[in-house]
């Protein structure tokens, strides 16, 4: 078994128009810049993929990574908890012009919906959002005297995530708080593609994402960090 792939180009080659794509990271921490840029490269070369539904906590920052993907016009819909950003204004402009769809989800509900998607749980109840606009249209049930909102699982065709060490079985570790949504997304996507700094052996006790959840591993030895790029005012391509 060898899930490693030789290139980013090959790693993202199978993502079609209209696909749903979970992208790891919280702000810049854990954002798989190289995978996203490879996807934008492919769009510039072939015109595809477009019309993507992207699941991420945010709407990107600056002009790299997810923000660049949105700027390129490849994203039809965003599912996230916090799309507000001072820079870029591209999401804001597209959103206010009605050119990009937004599904706003509380952060913990977003995490739990993704976990549920990966764990075969089609629906669950949470106190979160009860009595708010974000609960509108959702079933409410009372358990032990307290009202809860029914939320549904969230799955995707692909997940693009950034990890620290990966092995040929697809096992992964992460670095510090760059872990965030990535282990969940790996479970909830049909095809999970991980960029890793290091390909090497992992102690079975140290594995965070077991390989069963990962279909492809591609090495990016010194990955770019979104926050650092933005402080350098970098823009795609970079």
């Amino acid at each position: 078994m060898d899930k490693t792939l030789p290139s980013l180009t090959e790693a993202v080659s199978g993502i079609p128009d209209g696909a749903s794509v979970m992208i790891g990271g919280f702000g810049g921490s854990g954002s798989p810049i190289e995978l996203i840029h490879a996807l934008i490269d492919r769009f510039h070369a072939t015109g595809h993929p477009t019309g993507l539904t992207v699941i991420n906590n945010n709407a990107g920052n600056g002009h790299v990574g997810l923000a660049a993907l949105i700027e390129a016009g490849m994203v039809a819909k965003l599912i996230c908890s916090f799309p507000r950003s001072a820079d870029p204004v591209v999401f804001t402009e597209l959103y206010l012009a009605g050119k990009i769809e937004l599904e706003l989800v509380p952060q913990g509900t977003l995490a739990e919906r993704i976990r549920a998607g990966g764990a075969g749980i089609p629906a669950f109840y949470t106190p979160t959002s009860y009595g708010t606009d974000l609960a509108q249209g959702k079933p409410v049930e009372v358990f032990e005297g307290r009202p809860y909102v029914q939320e549904r699982w969230l799955k995707a065709d692909f997940a693009l995530i950034k990890a620290q060490v990966g092995d040929r079985f697809g096992n992964l570790t992460y670095r510090a708080a760059a872990r965030n949504f990535s282990p969940l997304m790996a479970t909830a996507a049909k095809v999970t593609i991980a960029q890793v700094s290091v390909i090497g052996e992992i102690d079975p006790e140290a594995v965070i994402t077991p390989g069963i959840f990962v279909q492809a591993v591609v090495q990016v030895e010194n990955p770019k960090q979104e926050e650092t790029l933005n402080r350098q005012k970098a823009a795609y391509p970079c």
Binding site: G28, S29, F82, A111, T128, T132, A177
Partner: protein
């Protein structure tokens, strides 16, 4: 008119955090509370993006941008820190494992409703983890100016802005007072230089008394 600075409001809120408490501080103003832990007490801070027991910001130039808090600020680690993914992080929140969450507010109602995520249909809505925090932590407190910039009450009989959560806030630390919420506003402390009548005039619902009202004494910080 006499009022507390933001730092002073944060200081006051910090005095109610017990030694060893697990605490989540909202993005922005509430983050300031961490600076004012009383001597001899050490709270353990949680951030939604997967760290327990993080510490202050590193020196400029020393930042590790994989080590950030929910406000995307670089932080450091304290002894006993741990990393975990977002589902585990919100299991801590939703599962009632946090002792206290301290959040900012646009409006708070006398029934404990909080509005702090949306100022209405204009612009891009963004909610983050606030709706999870208000129904998770054992105690949800708010720190806020007593009135808006144009002098309107933020403490109301009913919130007019979109709600973050229903009946969730139990204490409000304002620029002028400390108020408990138990189906009504119960005044606990107020600045000595502000009369009850003045305070009531700044407040959008009746202030109830239940026992003595202490002077809100806060040092210069």
């Amino acid at each position: 008119m006499l009022k507390l600075s933001n730092a002073q409001i944060a200081w006051r809120a910090a005095q109610d955090i017990a030694d060893g408490a697990y605490v989540n501080l909202g993005i922005g103003f509430p983050e300031m509370v961490a600076k004012f832990q009383p001597p001899g007490r050490e709270a353990i801070f949680h951030t939604e993006n997967g760290i327990l027991n993080f510490g202050e910001s590193p020196e400029p130039g020393e930042e590790d941008w994989d080590l950030i808090n929910a406000g995307k600020k670089a932080v450091t680690l304290k002894p006993g820190a741990s990393f975990f993914h977002h589902a585990d992080s919100f299991a801590m929140v939703r599962g009632g494992h946090l002792d206290v969450a301290i959040l900012g507010a646009y409006q708070v109602s006398e029934s404990g409703d909080l509005a702090n995520w949306s100022t209405g249909p204009k612009g891009v809505p963004a909610v983050g983890g606030a709706m999870d925090l208000v129904h998770g932590a054992k105690r949800v407190a708010v720190i806020t100016e007593h009135v808006t910039k144009d002098g309107k009450p933020k403490l109301l009989d009913r919130c007019t802005l979109p709600l973050t959560g229903v009946a969730c806030v139990t204490r409000v630390y304002t620029s002028h007072a400390v108020i408990d919420i138990a189906g009504r506003f119960i005044l606990r402390e107020k600045l000595a230089g502000v009369s009850l009548e003045e305070l009531q005039n700044m407040t959008g619902a009746k202030l109830h008394l239940d026992g003595p009202v202490l002077d809100l004494n806060v040092p210069e910080v």
